[in-house]
Amino acid sequence: MESNYGITVQGLLAAAVRMATPLLLAGLGGLFSAKSGIVSMFLEGFMLVGAFMGFLGSVLTGSAYLGILFAIAGGMLMGLIMAVLAVSGRANQTILGVGINIFALGITSYFQSVLFGSKRPTNVSVFYDIPIPGLSKIPYIGAIFNNSLFVYAAFLLVPVVWYVLYRTPAGLAIRAVGENPDSVATLGGNVIKIRYCCLLIAGALAGLGGASLTIGQTGQFMENISSGRGYIALAAMIFGRFSPIGVLIGSLLFGFADGLQLRMQTAGTAIPYQLLSMMPYVVTILALVVFVKKSMAPAAMGRPYTKQK
């Protein structure tokens, strides 16, 4: 599974990048919905569904690439459900998110037991590491350029997401909806449509993030494989002040913590492994406490939008 670099700077950087990827993908997805004013509590559930669907797709079709399509479709379906309940239903977005997460846990575990409980599929098609010629030979950071397509895609998406949000008319409308949807409505914008679209994008990206955990790595799905990563992605987004760069930095930070604790476990230290595996969660709390002084959340986030008529 993971090449044994030992605890070296090289190894830690490589691990940070790899562990950050699912967080980054989910965080970027969450950014779209958050910027449009929807609380992105559902990332954990979206990731789980994406992880399972990616795995399922790869098993069924034998191709990891088609698995990605399954993951994206599954994520978008979840996004649609959230949109119907949160945007059209105007229910409490935070609790809906928690509900979606519990539902996703249940449904993925359920189908995992039913379909693969008795016999685990082997030799599931996954994404292998693809070294980038030249760059992967650079000392110290070369290992970063020897990763799967998921990793490259995640990092390349950062400038893309930035451009879409800050340099296109659609992105401007999205940012406006998150601050003051009534303003956008009076100018003729369709708040409902914008939020639906953002949730579909969030579903696609978060689903992709989940898939990176299965067909991007081991080719196996385990119950609750995301283990709270969706919440950590949410924390990365808050910590990153709801900007693409911030999400990147946050994801790298938490990915680093995760990578560090795993390396320490495999390298064998005196510290009990449970205390090590606590680390990413402790780091998340500390990051929120130390760095988030004032909320930079979009002003209208969490408030259900009612059309005036």
Partner: protein, 366 residues
């Protein structure tokens, strides 16, 4: 043009709706959840009606089954009362699971160490220890929220994972039963075991304690100034502040009460059922409590009924797994769906109003 934005959370808003509408929406939510779960089950080739029948017989079919259901109700009820308190303060705490664990650790540690003359006193002290453990753990997100506005959702979720890891560590080492192969604590002395209230079953006095706490919850929320302040802060913390209420203190108190109750739930699970500390003893009760608090609309009676329902689901789903090979994860599916549907009452009300209006304009138009 006034745009009053006070409580973004329409959970607490429900408490002033007519009780009937609330009950109807909860029933509808249960119906929809069961329907869709049934659909899921039938996709995998199992007869959903048969499955549901097995579920209910597993939960209520015999007096022993019923006692098991009441047994399962106990921790869920106590933990969900705790969550209801935090929800009423507009705090979305998901931390019952972790607080239960810390409470259980504190209570078990105390139980193994102390030795008092009266067993009743011993149990009381241990339960108080459980309360304190959970309360302190709940004070962390409470304090961070009150002082810094940190998201209590994320903090409580992170603390859940931390608590699970902590328990595992303690049972591996410091609290491990001497010479045992299993990660578990030493067995508690029989004198501190919670007495059984129905012979031949596992049902213990914790159930009575849970009911008592439900009644206390009502009094606390609606007959004490503390409860009044917590509710005021939950609805509109700004107006409460202007009225002289110490908002930060209310938030901290609500979270500590919430954590403390979850801690008691954890302690009671150990002292009544397992009699020693084990990994995974919570069995997802923390998440059950979340769904129960919402389904029960934070209402003392509602929460009791919802706890009963969920306990039945848990107990019955075990039977369902044995008999029909339906995986127990179906319970999470039902839970999740319940949470998703429980808020549809605004949607339903709107649709009803819309149809009423259409009818009226049709009648007056012609």
């Amino acid at each position: 043009m006034m745009k009053p934005v006070i409580n973004k959370n329409n959970v607490t808003k429900h408490s002033h709706n007519k009780g009937r509408i609330q009950a109807i929406s909860s029933f509808l939510a249960i119906l929809m959840a069961l329907l869709l779960s049934g659909l899921t089950i039938s996709i995998t080739g199992v007869n959903p009606f048969a499955a549901i029948r097995v579920l209910f017989s597993g939960a209520f079919g015999s007096s022993y089954a019923f006692s098991e259901t009441l047994l399962r109700t106990t921790p869920i009820l106590i933990a969900s009362i705790g969550l209801a308190i935090s929800f009423r303060c507009n705090l979305t705490s998901v931390g019952a699971e972790g607080q239960m664990i810390i409470g259980a650790i504190a209570a078990t540690f105390t139980g193994l160490k102390i030795s008092l003359a009266s067993p009743v006193l011993e149990i009381l002290v241990c339960i108080i220890a459980g309360f304190l453990g959970g309360a302190l753990f709940g004070a962390i997100p409470g304090y961070l929220k009150a002082k810094l506005g940190t998201s209590e959702i994320i903090v409580t979720i992170m603390l859940n994972y931390i608590a699970i890891d902590l328990l595992s560590y303690l049972l591996d080492g410091p609290m491990r039963e001497g010479g045992s192969f299993y990660p578990q604590s030493a067995l508690l002395d029989q004198s501190v075991w919670l007495p059984k209230i129905i012979a031949g079953t596992r049902l213990h006095a914790g159930f009575i304690i849970a009911i008592v706490f439900d009644i206390i919850y009502f009094f606390l929320m609606f007959r004490t100034p503390l409860g009044f302040k917590i509710r005021a802060v939950g609805f509109n913390s700004k107006a409460a502040e202007y009225a002289g209420v110490n908002v930060g203190r209310s938030i901290l108190t609500a979270m500590m009460l919430s954590g403390g109750l979850a801690g008691i739930a954890g302690a009671i699970e150990i002292f009544g059922v397992h009699h020693r500390l084990l990994n995974g003893f919570t069995a997802g009760v923390g998440f059950d409590a979340l769904a129960v608090a919402l389904l029960g609309k934070l209402n003392p009676v509602g929460v009791f009924l919802a706890s009963l329902f969920f306990a039945a689901l848990k107990v019955g789903s075990n039977t369902m797994q044995h008999v029909m090979q339906v995986p127990t994860s179906i319970v999470y599916v039902i839970q999740g769906l319940l949470i998703l549907f429980v808020f549809t009452d605004t949607l339903i009300k709107d649709k009803l109003l819309y149809f009423e209006k259409r009818l009226k304009t049709k009648q007056s138009g012609e």
